[in-house]
Symmetry: C2
Subunit: 490 residues, 2 copies
Amino acid sequence: MASQAEGSSVAADIEAIFHPHSIAVVGASANPDTPGYDYVRSLQQFGYKERIYPVNPKGGEILGLPVFASLRDVSGGIDYVISCIPNAYILDLVGDCAAAGVKALQLFTGRFSETGRADDAALEDRLRQTASEAGVRLIGPNCMGLLYPALGISFRTDMSRKSGPIGFLSQSGNLLFELTHFGESRGLRFSKAISYGNALDLNECDFLEYFAEDAETRVIGAYIEGVRNGRAFIRALRRASSRKPTVVLKGGRTGAGGRTAVSHTAALAGSAAVWDAAVRQSEAIGVDTVEELVDALIACAYMKTPFGMHSGNRFSRPRLAMVGAGGGRSVLTADLSEELGLLVPPLPPDVEAKVAEKAPDLAGWITNPVDQSILAGSGLGGAQVLEWLDESPDIDMVVGNIGEPWAFGRPNGEAIVRRVTERFTGVAEKTKKPFAVVLGPSDYGDEERWRVVSEARDRLVEAGVAVFPSVERAVRTLARLAGHWSRRRA
Amino acid sequence: MASQAEGSSVAADIEAIFHPHSIAVVGASANPDTPGYDYVRSLQQFGYKERIYPVNPKGGEILGLPVFASLRDVSGGIDYVISCIPNAYILDLVGDCAAAGVKALQLFTGRFSETGRADDAALEDRLRQTASEAGVRLIGPNCMGLLYPALGISFRTDMSRKSGPIGFLSQSGNLLFELTHFGESRGLRFSKAISYGNALDLNECDFLEYFAEDAETRVIGAYIEGVRNGRAFIRALRRASSRKPTVVLKGGRTGAGGRTAVSHTAALAGSAAVWDAAVRQSEAIGVDTVEELVDALIACAYMKTPFGMHSGNRFSRPRLAMVGAGGGRSVLTADLSEELGLLVPPLPPDVEAKVAEKAPDLAGWITNPVDQSILAGSGLGGAQVLEWLDESPDIDMVVGNIGEPWAFGRPNGEAIVRRVTERFTGVAEKTKKPFAVVLGPSDYGDEERWRVVSEARDRLVEAGVAVFPSVERAVRTLARLAGHWSRRRA
């Protein structure tokens, strides 16, 4: 099993790369509007505890650290080098790395094959060859590199400093900013993440292998524009997916997307149909947009899986229940759910019996989804019905909608949002079913509403609840995962 | 043309209903957590300038107004009555209305046919008959009624007090809260809106006719669960749609949705296929979710239409350009656009020539969508390229992504967001093409970011720019409207 042995050795290389005892930033700068400044400052601000060596022929001091003119001037050994210098100097830098015993070189440096020019592509080839001969592993070129909050490693100061369950590999660094910017308030946090650009040496297969083994990673996410070796990729994806939920977003599925990918990472995008088949065969979770990616990662990280999915039971059309919306929204949720292949049955008999006992006047009228406005004034609250639905053997998935557009119109709206949030958190803590809470977006002008919604979201996320900014996105995500769960075999 | 004459007379009735010289709230209450309080308080807070008569047998005073024991005790005439009393008293109320010369009665009062019980349905039948004989027009029952900010009429204090171009008819009152809550910061504002519940008398056809004529309405929106007369509805929808962009969201498209609609407004939902055919024949804009509804309304209200669409020119696959995202996002946007039927061509020759002049180093490398990170440090800004693309004859639709996830990582991030917002606003003011700006969501925990994004959004909305909270939603909306525009005939 040569390939497995090789896989393990690469995983060991990557593990070492994530645990450097010293980091040099070549092309470090005192100008705050440069990447050569960002890398040094990020390491400091994230609390990287070992040695940081800024390198720049100009010398001087950057952020309180003495600047070395060259890697060769640093004594004491360098494990990891970040390059921000122009591509013209890159072969010399590889030589310096070899001389200094550097194990790995990450290149923010770009303008290689992605420019589409022959000389840049030729330089990339020489870079690969030179590094290989020198025994220096490469991350990139044309990438942001490593994020590992637990050890204080980051490429930008405003990534999340909180560690989370998600290991992520991305051919786009900007995508990692977007995931953090749009997902962090919902608990989208990384164990480790890697922006790996043109994938000249270490590539998607290596990182998938690594995350499949990594004890700090529970969920794997990937943004991939192209793969070098289709068979190896399918093998790596299948292995990762058999260990941990693995969500993959493919860039370059169309002619225009493929053309754009070439100018981005020089990736050869390949056929969308082949990709889809690979994802399906691997039993990974395929998504098509950043929104879907965020939602699927949140779901995998924070939702229960139904029916002992890990042991491979199948189920076909899961039965969804929802509580906490007005009439129109209830109707529309039922429509969307059924259109996406979920079942939305009427209230199960056990729940119907409890309703009849507590609020006889509503029996036979309210249905599922539970129209909150019918409950108003009945003495029966939505959270109570949600608990009953969660306990019912005839319901597989539950959505709880906080319903703040309605609540904020009441005189005690903020208290309602807080109370419902607490009740839903209680259900989430007990449930054995996939449970999605809908809250937000807090995407409106009123500061007080923004604050109440943000605090409620924080509370839910702290409790480990999967929160979605709209009913649509909650239902689409449940349908996507239902499809995934139902395809999984033992 | 009896039906047209009748149509006009109904439109005149509705126009009168929207301009009452006095409003009585029957079942008014001093308890702030009741609709009988909300209606009185909303009229006061929205600045309704004419007489408000709270009615309640208990008498006393509510919000500074004397309470009348009965409608019959009010002297001076009542144009419009809002009912919040239980259904058991409703026939007596109709009698009181007739005696007091009331023209229209709106029933928040529910529990009629929507409960599914024979006695409630029978009561509804008697209500219809009694009101018809008494010459009192009904809105509802089981509805929130009228919103007309210009005249100070509202059913809830937290609806928007700003008037806008959108006339909306809805079988769900809660949906109107949601549209305001989720859409107002993007400029989703109503000329007038009507929540009409069970549609016992005035119905969707009447309101469509009315909005088609209403000078204050430029765009029509509708949420409909069921129609009483399919042919009449298609006629009314076609007439409305021929006059103004008309966006319709259908609730009850599936078995579960239909069942839920029955318990909501007793609507008979009918077949989804028949509905789709009706929307297509009418050349209305059909949507399936609240998010799509909000986005389509914003687009119709604030976007230019391409190619003199009003005179009926056709175009097939429109060519989209986007600026302002990183590489991964650019690739994904190209993919999604093409998957939805839009074309994403490379940079047109005229734009390519301008790039070659200003930044020779990038010529032949950057493509469309324009990868912002390639521009970094080139001296060529994204807003400049956006202007060129907008001016190019080879581009039909333009998306400008503010790109705040990237900007906030820079030392002067807030200034970048403000500057890009100003530049994009300038493009929006000049363009003759559909132009979507992407900003937000401001759906994250950091207060300063929320403030910067909210202020930027306010600026764009003030300038009449169509803003979308994600690239995905912008592209989906452009694709939807492109389909609509291309189907329209002269």
